[in-house]
């Protein structure tokens, strides 16, 4: 339920997308399979206004799961061109989901990260996590997650400080700026995709070999 996989977001993940072109963006929040097949309405709306702030603003949208369906809160949002929208689920019980839609910039999807997209994941278990792009672009890397024994007060404080420090991996086409990264359990890694033909960030152990 909490594996590293941008195709199936959980409460430990966030998906962010920058919208640079003014106009309407319609999107859906569905299960990962429906997102891949794009078989659903796009009931949610972003109004992207033609006014850019000096610094792009971040807008958060909470993903909820109610009565067997995903909903966005708020369902409609007005933003400025260049702003970033970040989708996240607050409840641990939220099933895996994906965000996908279309705007003036073209289509976007958490299952296929293209331009100016970000996927973040909080790592819950120690160990080496090799990540790969399931869309076969060849990009990938290794995250080494270490446990930290937070038994005493000092260790707890140290862990608390480390948890506030996110790590960033930037992917541009077939180049990964940090192919290997060391973090501690609970730390968040941001995978920022500046340009791609549509990639995923997926734990390599989830990859099914194709003969």
């Amino acid at each position: 339920m909490s594996a590293l996989d941008s195709r199936a977001l959980t409460y430990l993940d966030c998906y962010g997308q920058r919208f640079s072109t003014p106009g309407q963006v319609r999107y859906a929040i569905t299960g990962p399979l429906a997102a891949r097949l794009r078989v659903d309405d796009q009931p949610y709306l972003l109004q992207v206004a033609d006014q850019q702030a000096a610094e792009p603003q971040q807008h958060d949208i909470e993903v909820r799961y109610e009565n067997g369906a995903f909903t966005a809160v708020p369902p409609e949002l007005a933003i400025s061109a260049g702003d970033v929208v970040l989708w996240h689920a607050a409840q641990a019980a939220t099933p895996p989901y994906a965000v996908w839609g279309e705007g003036e910039d073209g289509s976007f999807s958490s299952t296929s990260l293209q331009a100016e997209a970000v996927y973040s994941h909080a790592f819950g278990s120690a160990g080496d996590v090799e990540w790969t792009d399931m869309n076969q672009s060849g990009v990938g890397g290794l995250i080494r997650v270490h446990d930290l024994d937070a038994t005493d007060r000092d260790a707890c404080e140290r862990w608390g400080r480390v948890l506030c420090e996110g790590a960033v991996v930037v992917v541009e086409r077939d180049r990964v700026d940090l192919p290997e990264l060391e973090i501690v359990t609970g730390q968040t890694v941001f995978f920022a995709v500046t340009q791609s033909s549509g990639m995923t960030v997926t734990d390599a152990t989830l990859a099914i070999p194709v003969r």
């Binding site: 641990a92 278990s125 948890l163 506030c164 960033v168 968040t188 920022a192």
Partner: protein, 266 residues
């Protein structure tokens, strides 16, 4: 004077009683309980073997069986509510090349209730006193030896072994829980605090004692109508009626014996 008197001495009793005990079928029981703050369900299967019989006539008037062995398999499923570990990851902010500053929301990690199955097989030796009980039930005479009182089961070694088995299973289960890594030492200290030998003894005693307490060992079973000669045409079968059956321990002859006295009528 009784019509029939049958007696076995201690040597014979040491053959008959242990062999009868060994032929008793396995018994299963299940239930639920707790270990400190943690709930559990259990199922146990037990069988008995061995023992050395001592026939002790009145005034004690008991059949004492020493070194009897209760073999058991205990399956325990512990339910560990780990919600006491719940915590929230703080808001994390980074600066990205194309966006600028971006922050995740605070993420609250909810720890689950995990089920930990533990299987444990062992045995415990005990000594029990039994009294004879005779009854005519459904036209069948039965003489049983029934365990009286609550035999003391020495469960210390079994409890220690079970604590170790629980410890191993719980440690393995905890390692699979996301986000527990940094909290593992803290979680283990709290959880294992509940799994003391004393607590496990308090669990094992009530589970295992009923397998022994009140145990009924059948020593003699005979239909009230006893066939002396089978039917052989033209004569019908010859039957006698067992009017009364009595069983007692007797040491008056200088040797301790289990004596069966039977009154019959045609």
């Amino acid at each position: 004077m009784a019509d029939i008197v049958a007696a076995i001495d201690e040597t014979a009793a040491n053959v008959i009683v242990p062999s009868t005990i060994g032929s008793l079928p396995s018994v299963s029981r299940s239930g639920s309980g707790s270990l400190g703050p943690f709930g559990l369900s259990w199922s146990a299967t037990a069988s008995l073997t061995g023992g050395t019989v001592d026939l002790i006539p009145p005034p004690a008037d008991v059949i004492r069986i020493a070194g009897c062995r209760l073999n058991y398999t205990l399956g325990v499923t512990l339910s560990l509510d780990l919600s006491f570990l719940n915590f929230c990851l703080p808001r994390v902010c980074v600066r990205l090349p194309f966006i600028g500053r971006i922050c995740t929301p605070r993420i609250c990690v909810t720890f689950p209730t995990i089920s930990v199955p533990v299987s444990h097989s062992s045995f415990v030796n005990f000594t029990a006193d039994m009294r004879l009980a005779t009854a005519l039930t459904g036209a069948v005479w039965k003489v049983d030896a029934i365990v009286v009182g609550v035999p003391v089961l020495v469960l210390g070694p079994a409890a220690t072994a079970l604590v170790a088995a629980i410890g191993a299973a719980v440690t393995l289960a905890l390692l699979a829980v996301p986000f527990i890594g940094p909290l593992l030492a803290l979680a283990s200290a709290i959880i294992f605090g509940a799994f003391t030998v004393a607590n496990v003894l308090g669990l094992l005693g009530p589970i295992l004692t009923p397998f022994v307490s009140g145990l009924r060992i059948p020593l003699y079973t005979q239909p009230q109508m006893f066939e002396v000669l089978p039917a052989s045409a033209p004569d019908p079968a010859v039957l006698v009626r067992l009017d009364s059956v009595a069983a007692a321990l007797d040491g008056s002859s200088g040797e301790d014996e289990l004596v069966l006295t039977i009154e019959i009528s045609p």
